[in-house]
């Protein structure tokens, strides 16, 4: 017997629309205000920290970095926004985009909570449950990280030891090795072309290794172009059937 189904809960059709509208309106106001404040703090922090260290960020280098890698993440952010906001509702989406770790934690966490209580997307119940879920999840992460940082502090001399430096100097290859398996297995045939092209390019023009992040653009464009051609072909075949 499913106990959840036996719990009497008012759903979208039975709640007071005025109360719900008022809640949504104030949630948007609050969400916008805290998002702007968080943005200001996050953008201000590098300058504040820089002034503490007696320097400021190199804006030209930051702009070049944004052109190379930032555009990829901007597109990714737009897609994430369009896809996840309807699932999360107002309060949940403001919080999720402030606290991050969407795909690896917040989205599955909110979906899990929604399924557990049987809330349907787009209903007032979903709005409340998503917000509760994401707020709780973010608080757990904040507490775990704060405790972890406190525990790591005594280990700092060890972390800074010369023996461990090759490990920290190779964080990026470690990340891309892990991500390579994760993404390549989704589409090995598609992965092969940009991998071979990029490898050959770097072998023949080794100086390009100093601009790897710029090379993401042609490599990504190649992969997306190939993916688009295949998508179009499949759609055509489905249309003919």
């Amino acid at each position: 017997m499913n106990t959840e189904k036996n719990v009497n809960v008012k759903t979208a059709g039975t709640v007071d629309p005025k109360k719900y509208e008022a809640y949504l309106k104030s949630t948007h106001r609050l969400g916008q205000a805290v998002s702007l404040l968080t943005l200001a703090m996050l953008l201000g922090a590098p300058f504040l920290i820089g002034s503490l260290l007696g320097t400021l960020p190199d804006l030209g280098a930051a702009a070049r970095g944004f052109l190379s890698v930032g555009l990829v993440w901007t597109v990714s952010s737009i897609v994430e926004y369009l896809v996840y906001t309807p699932m999360l509702g107002a309060g949940g989406s403001y919080l999720a985009f402030i606290t991050g770790n969407l795909i690896n934690m917040k989205i599955p966490c909110a979906m899990n909570a929604r399924e557990l209580v049987g809330a349907k997307a787009g209903t007032p119940e979903n709005e409340v449950i998503s917000t509760l879920s994401i707020a709780t999840s973010a608080l757990v992460t904040i507490v775990v990280l704060a405790l972890g940082v406190l525990l790591i502090l005594p280990l700092q001399p060890l972390l800074e030891s010369k023996v461990l430096q090759p490990g920290f100097a190779n964080v990026v290859p470690a990340l891309f090795g892990a991500m390579a398996y994760k993404y390549y297995r989704k589409d090995v045939r598609l992965a092969l072309v940009p991998l071979v092209c990029m490898s050959l390019l770097f072998m023949f023009v080794p100086s390009l290794t100093a601009s790897t992040s710029f090379m993401i653009i042609p490599s990504g464009a190649l992969a997306i172009g190939l993916s688009w051609l295949r998508y179009r072909k499949v759609r055509k075949e489905v249309g003919q059937k």
């Binding site: 719990v7 009497n8 809640y23 969400g31 805290v34 998002s35 968080t38 953008l43 920290i49 400021l56 960020p57 190199d58 280098a61 930051a62 990829v72 952010s77 926004y81 369009l82 906001t85 309807p86 403001y94 919080l95 402030i98 606290t99 991050g100 770790n101 690896n104 909570a113 787009g122 449950i129 917000t131 879920s133 707020a135 999840s137 992460t141 990280l145 972890g148 940082v149 790591i152 800074e160 490990g167 920290f168 100097a169 964080v171 290859p173 470690a174 891309f176 892990a178 991500m179 993404y183 989704k186 991998l195 092209c197 080794p206 390009l208 290794t209 601009s211 490599s219 190649l222 993916s227």
Partner: protein, 249 residues
């Protein structure tokens, strides 16, 4: 005082800790508001409690994995900044990649020996700028976007993604290929065209991390140890980094 010691200074802890505290307060405010709204809307407190407790337990393991990410980045960026970045907005794969791209633009590598204070400030700024767009979009469009979706089937929004999902996967495949190609090119031609005498540490590191990821995936999918998934990226990275330490270059 080394750069890393400066990056672990009390002032930086206070700045980062202050922002983390602000975000924690925001979460508490949203939590309390949603709880009160749920009660006012006639929702069952048992269900709401269940949502809270299940979310807390669900988030515990991934949070420990995120902590491992803080550890991975702390060697080059100090402890407070990765702590802030992975507490607010950040995600491990994103932070590492953007930090590396920013380091490249300021002419250093993401390693403790090469780090300078200006490089750090620039990296920190770029990390903030690159990931802020989700927040910008919610601030600008959430009200209108959600209003437009009201009355429609919200599931339709995700069902109509079409090529979007494939394009995202392709974009990441392209990104990974550029980096792996650079490691291979660096080894083959890094110290002279086709001399095969460049550094092979990044290649081995990437290979070990990929292998570890394969094992984690196998455990999660074939042995039904779903919790392993939470640690797969951070765990693979740490094993890859351990391989680099073992090689000792």
């Amino acid at each position: 005082m080394t750069v890393l010691e400066k990056l672990n200074g009390t002032g930086i802890y206070l700045i980062c800790g202050g922002i983390v505290l602000f975000i924690a307060a925001v979460c508490v405010v949203f939590l309390v508001r949603a709880w009160k709204a749920g009660k006012a809307l006639g929702m069952d407190p048992v269900k709401m409690k269940r949502a809270v407790t299940s979310s807390a337990t669900f988030s515990l393991l991934p949070s420990v994995a995120i902590l491992l990410g803080v550890l991975a980045l702390s060697g080059s960026l100090g402890l407070p900044w990765p702590w802030l970045r992975l507490s607010v907005i950040g995600a491990l794969h994103y932070e590492t990649q953007v930090a590396d791209a920013a380091a490249e633009q300021v002419g250093v590598s993401l390693s403790p020996d090469a780090m300078t204070t200006q490089a750090f400030a620039t990296i920190a700024l770029l990390m903030s700028v690159c990931i802020m767009w989700g927040m910008v979009l919610t601030t600008l469009f959430n009200r209108r976007y959600l209003r437009r979706l009201q009355g429609r089937n919200p599931a339709g929004a995700s069902a109509g993604r079409g090529f979007g999902d494939q394009a995202m996967a392709a974009m990441f495949i392209g990104m990974v290929s550029a980096y792996l190609g650079s490691y291979l090119g660096g080894f083959v031609s890094g110290s002279g065209l086709f001399t095969f005498s460049g550094s092979w540490t990044p290649l081995v590191t990437a290979a070990v991390a990929a292998l570890a990821m394969a094992v984690f995936t196998w455990l999660a999918e074939k042995k039904h140890l779903a919790w392993v998934d939470n640690f797969s990226i951070a765990g693979s990275m740490l094993l890859g980094m351990a391989a680099a330490v073992a090689i000792g270059h």
